[in-house]
């Protein structure tokens, strides 16, 4: 055993001296942290936006839900919940990489994260932030395509609008 231990020390120091093993630069770890953070924020933003879209899509079909059920099924953006779930899973996975995450009950973190996304989606839909996203946000192409496909008009004018006034 002691011979093995001696070998361990010698082997490693030899590899270091011969530069067979090198320290990764600090920039590598800084970039990793930044990318993780950006990924986490993006997954939250995408999930919140898509939850807002799902809520909007359900609302645009108006009253008499049973009569319009077929319509909902045919025009509902099914990719949105799928992407929202993917966003949530990626977000939770990234969250696990943070140092604090193991110190709190992870079930609570997951439930809190999902609730925050749902409440966030509901909130941006309620205050009409979706309208701003349609006109200026990064998702405008996606939203316009969805609205065109389903004959929904955004902003001012007739048809169905994606803001709280539509509900009145």
């Amino acid at each position: 055993m002691s011979k093995e231990l001696k070998n361990i020390a010698d082997n490693i120091m030899d590899q270091i001296h011969e530069e067979k093993i090198k320290m990764r630069p600090k920039a590598y770890f800084i970039a990793g942290s930044i990318l993780t953070f950006v990924g986490l924020v993006s997954s939250v933003v995408v999930s919140v936006f898509l939850v807002g879209l799902i809520r909007f899509s359900l609302r645009t079909h108006g009253p008499m839900a049973s009569y319009r059920f077929d319509q909902i099924l045919s025009s509902f953006p099914w990719w949105a919940p799928v992407l929202a779930i993917v966003g949530l899973v990626v977000g939770i996975w990234l969250l696990r990489k943070y140092d604090f995450s193991f110190k709190v009950n992870f079930k609570i973190v997951i439930i809190g994260f999902i609730l925050a996304v749902i409440v966030g989606g509901w909130f941006i839909d309620s205050v009409g932030l979706n309208d701003v996203l349609i006109r200026r946000g990064p998702m405008q192409g996606m939203m316009r395509q969805y609205m065109q496909d389903n004959n929904i008009q955004g902003g001012q004018g007739g048809g169905q609008r994606w803001d709280k006034n539509f509900e009145k």
């Binding site: 093995e4 361990i8 093993i21 770890f29 193991f102």
Partner: protein, 180 residues
């Protein structure tokens, strides 16, 4: 050299990072025995354990710039060994199954016995016969003298879970080891 020996792990790491690579030998000297015993308790094989320790120390050196010197180096290096050992265990599937519905009895006797140094060898033997999720915190606490907080950092589990596993581990030790 004697000056160097007075430095903390974290201070040595700072020096290694700022181009004094030879000081990494001090880190290796400080940890190799402890890590080897820890790894051997996880994989039950001395050869594998020494490979694990070597790989872990290499990995630690490569990622040394990612270590936060405000935290404890010992927890960090033990965590790396833990990960390496778990990969080895998964490969060989040698882990003892987890017994969730075990019939526990009083833990009084075994706790008392545990605290006596002369039983260390017997205890180490017994550790091998209880599931890894219980033997690992126990071995870190009694053999490596880690605090609950350090065990929590190494195993990445909340402190409450450490306490629960410790308590269950003691009961299992009593149940299994007092028979022998």
């Amino acid at each position: 050299m004697s000056e160097t020996l007075k430095l903390t792990d974290e201070e040595i790491v700072e020096k290694v990072r700022s181009n004094d690579r030879d000081l990494y030998a001090v880190i290796i000297e400080r940890y190799k025995n402890k890590l080897l015993r820890y790894a051997a308790n996880l994989v039950y094989d001395n050869d594998k354990a020494s490979h694990i320790v070597q790989d872990s120390l290499v990995k630690a050196y490569i990622n040394l710039n990612g270590f936060n010197t405000k935290k404890k180096f010992s927890s960090w290096i033990y965590r790396i060994v833990h990960n390496e050992a778990m990969n080895a265990v998964k490969k060989s599937k040698k882990e003892v199954p987890i017994l969730d519905d075990f019939d526990f009895e009083s833990e009084q006797d075994i706790t008392k016995e545990f605290e006596q140094k002369e039983t260390a060898i017997h205890v180490e033997k017994c550790l091998k016969s209880i599931p890894l999720i219980y033997s690992e915190p126990l071995s870190l606490y009694y053999l490596d003298e880690k605090s609950y907080e350090e065990i929590s950092d190494i195993l990445r589990i909340p402190m409450g879970t450490v306490a629960i596993r410790m308590s269950r581990a003691k009961k299992l030790m009593k149940h299994i080891c007092q028979k022998n």
